[in-house]
């Protein structure tokens, strides 16, 4: 038996000198990928007190451990750095092709330091089997993401994928996302959205990364038969099972509304009167007359949860119109039509913005009386205005807290400076514990628990468990929607490298990732006092019966103290 993939490299890019060094990837890190790898590098090499938009910050692009192999739905990539939005460590995870392309070339990650000395200059990073280099990219300065990718398709081989920032990132706006191109037509529709990492990329002067795997093969595991059996078995079990995400996350809308976690009008209610017109079922119905379909965003994905949305004339409009976007840019702004939300989704992808943060900001702007509720055309103009860099655009583009300050409005639903996502902590209190304690801030992908009846004495464990499981999943390359368990993941790791991976080892991997992140945040000046939600989550009751987030401090803090492993830690599926 071979030892599995070997000879992997790490790309180190110095944007101050526009120089590249390709170094050996430490063998001791072979079970580190994605989020865990990003956390390890940032803790070791990034000053947690640095200016997130300055040259001392480090931008990490790290595919998961299994990316580039034949494991199903395993090509996710983590983008990491110090967040300009939260002021702490951040990992944002995306699908699309770049993760697999990097790994097929044996590149375990890209570590970007420094910043272009002339802030007006733009550069690109080109990665292929022929080598890695930084090249000038001034002609793409300010380009919106779709036009950028169209231009790049003309320049590079058809096999190439791209990572880019839009004008929001170039302006250094704290709601800026990092875009990745997807499998079909390679649109920039997969975003590592949360935490403003697009601004980190933009302020380094890095406009895009091109990755051309050429004919690089799939990564071969040490135990080929065992790995193949795992792939086949998992795929058969998944496709023969209940396939929760077959219709996409947009189909969750009515269920979330039933649970009072479909926020309406800046979270003043958990239910929306527009649930029927924002229901993802309307999107699926549109396929019959307009075209569009469900598809997989990356090669080898068996979940196929991503939708391709067309307009009334049958033309492509946007892709991956998700539950969170329908909520924050739809219901939360009292925008009733899914078609308007599709326009907003496209605009956010073009400008390079997190739809959750942008939707939360616009809702605060509306709640402050500066724009009418439900003004979809006004919202579209606002998003386009963000790209222009004016005062109002900057406020909205800098997210919920900045918009709250700009308007002087009191109701700003956030945690650690990041807007709270659709999954509301008032009916879902254990999820609220995740928002309080995760180094990521209010991020449902850090550990979502959809159980409104969970007894108080189980909440800390459920949050900790979800945080560990999701940290390992986001390090593995698996998509959370495949819902692998820790036992599943360690089985694949063991076959990949021909080594035993015990339950203790996988538990340690997950806990170490969380610990690295908390340690970074300690260095950034965070304390336990920051493990909280905005006051409005404690004061504004929603639901039936009405409820606020009222979890006692000692329960919240218990989620950050490692508890002994229980059986369900290893069998629970990731949920994000």
């Amino acid at each position: 038996m071979s030892s599995g993939p070997s000879g992997d490299k790490l790309i180190r890019v110095d944007m101050t000198r526009q120089s590249v060094e390709v170094v050996d990837f430490p063998d001791g890190w072979r079970l580190l990928g994605g989020r865990a790898l990003s956390a390890r590098i940032l803790l070791a090499e990034c000053d947690p007190a640095c200016d997130p938009l300055g040259p001392e910050n480090i931008l990490v692009m790290a595919p998961g451990v299994l990316s580039g192999t034949a494991a199903p739905t395993s090509g996710r990539i983590s983008i990491g750095g110090k967040s300009p939005l939260t002021g702490g460590i951040k990992e944002a995870n995306a699908g699309g092709q770049p993760g697999q392309h990097l790994m097929k070339l044996g590149m375990r990650g890209v570590v970007v330091t420094g910043a272009a000395p002339d802030p007006e200059r733009r550069y690109a990073l080109e990665i292929s089997a022929d080598g890695v280099r930084v090249v000038p990219a001034d002609e793409y300065k300010g380009m919106w993401n779709y036009a950028l990718c169209e231009a790049l398709h003309q320049r590079y081989p058809e096999s190439a994928s791209f990572i880019s920032c839009g004008p929001a990132g170039e302006l250094g706006l704290r709601g800026a996302s990092v875009a990745c191109t997807d499998q079909d037509n390679r649109y920039p529709a997969r975003h590592a959205a949360r935490g403003g990492l697009g601004a980190v990329m933009g302020k380094k002067g890095l406009k895009y990364v091109m990755i051309d795997p050429g004919r690089a093969p799939v990564r071969e595991p040490a135990d080929r038969k065992g790995f193949a059996a795992l792939c086949k078995g998992y795929t058969k079990s998944y496709l023969g099972g209940r396939q929760m995400f077959k219709r996409g996350t947009s189909a969750v809308v009515p269920a979330a509304n039933a649970l009072h976690t479909f926020p309406y009008k800046n979270r003043t209610s958990g239910r929306s009167p527009d649930v029927e017109t924002l229901d993802g079922a309307r999107i699926i119905e549109s396929f019959a007359t307009r075209g569009g379909r469900m598809h997989n965003c990356m090669t080898g994905c068996i979940v196929k949860c991503s939708n391709v949305v067309h307009d009334a004339q049958g033309r492509y409009k946007t892709s991956a119109l998700e539950f969170e976007t329908l909520t924050l840019l739809g219901s939360n702004c009292a925008i009733a039509s899914w078609e308007d939300v599709a326009d907003l989704d496209r605009l956010c992808d073009e400008v390079g913005l997190d739809t959750i943060e942008t939707g939360a900001a616009i809702a605060i702007y509306m709640d402050a009386g500066r724009m009418a509720w439900g003004d979809a055309e006004g919202a579209k103009k606002l998003v386009a205005e963000i790209a222009e860099g004016g005062e109002l655009g900057r406020a909205i583009g800098n997210g919920a807290v900045a918009t709250g300050k700009y308007t002087g409005h009191h109701r700003v639903p956030e945690s650690r400076g990041q807007a709270i996502p659709a999954w509301d902590p008032r009916p879902l209190k254990a999820t609220g514990i995740t928002y309080c304690t995760s180094a990521m801030g209010a991020d449902h992908t850090a550990g979502l628990i959809v159980n409104p009846g969970l007894p108080l004495d189980r909440m800390a464990w459920e949050s900790q468990k979800a945080q560990i499981v999701n940290a390992v999943c986001d390090s593995s390359g698996f998509c959370q929607f495949l819902q692998p368990s820790l036992d599943d993941i360690r089985g694949f790791y063991a076959a990949l490298y021909g080594i035993p991976v015990s339950r203790d080892a996988i538990h340690d991997l997950g806990w170490q990732c969380l610990s690295d992140e908390w340690e970074f945040n300690d260095g950034a000046g965070f304390t336990e006092a920051d493990d909280k939600l905005a006051d409005c989550m404690h004061e504004d009751a929603i639901g039936d019966p009405p409820t606020v987030f009222d979890v006692p401090r000692e329960i919240i803090q218990a989620a950050k103290r490692r508890m002994p492993a229980r059986e369900d830690l290893f069998s629970s599926k990731s949920t994000g």
Partner: protein
Amino acid sequence: MPRVIIPPPFQGPTRGQGELKVEGRTVRECLGAVEAEHSGFLAQVLREDGTLQRFAKLFVNQEQVGEESLDTALGIDDEVEILAAIAGG
């Protein structure tokens, strides 16, 4: 008595209880028995017109059934499981 298995998203009315043994000769009666003890549960599973909520799936003894099976007779050892497709970003 038949068992009703309730998924976490629907455990609000049952205060975290995920498995209940109830009196009921049909699926509908069993769901009604849960509702009688835990008000608010049934609306998560059935619409006002008695049809299944689109986001809820019903399984009887591991086999998926539709609303046409709500009046199917159940044995004392039978199991009714509700699945809720609720997660995502």
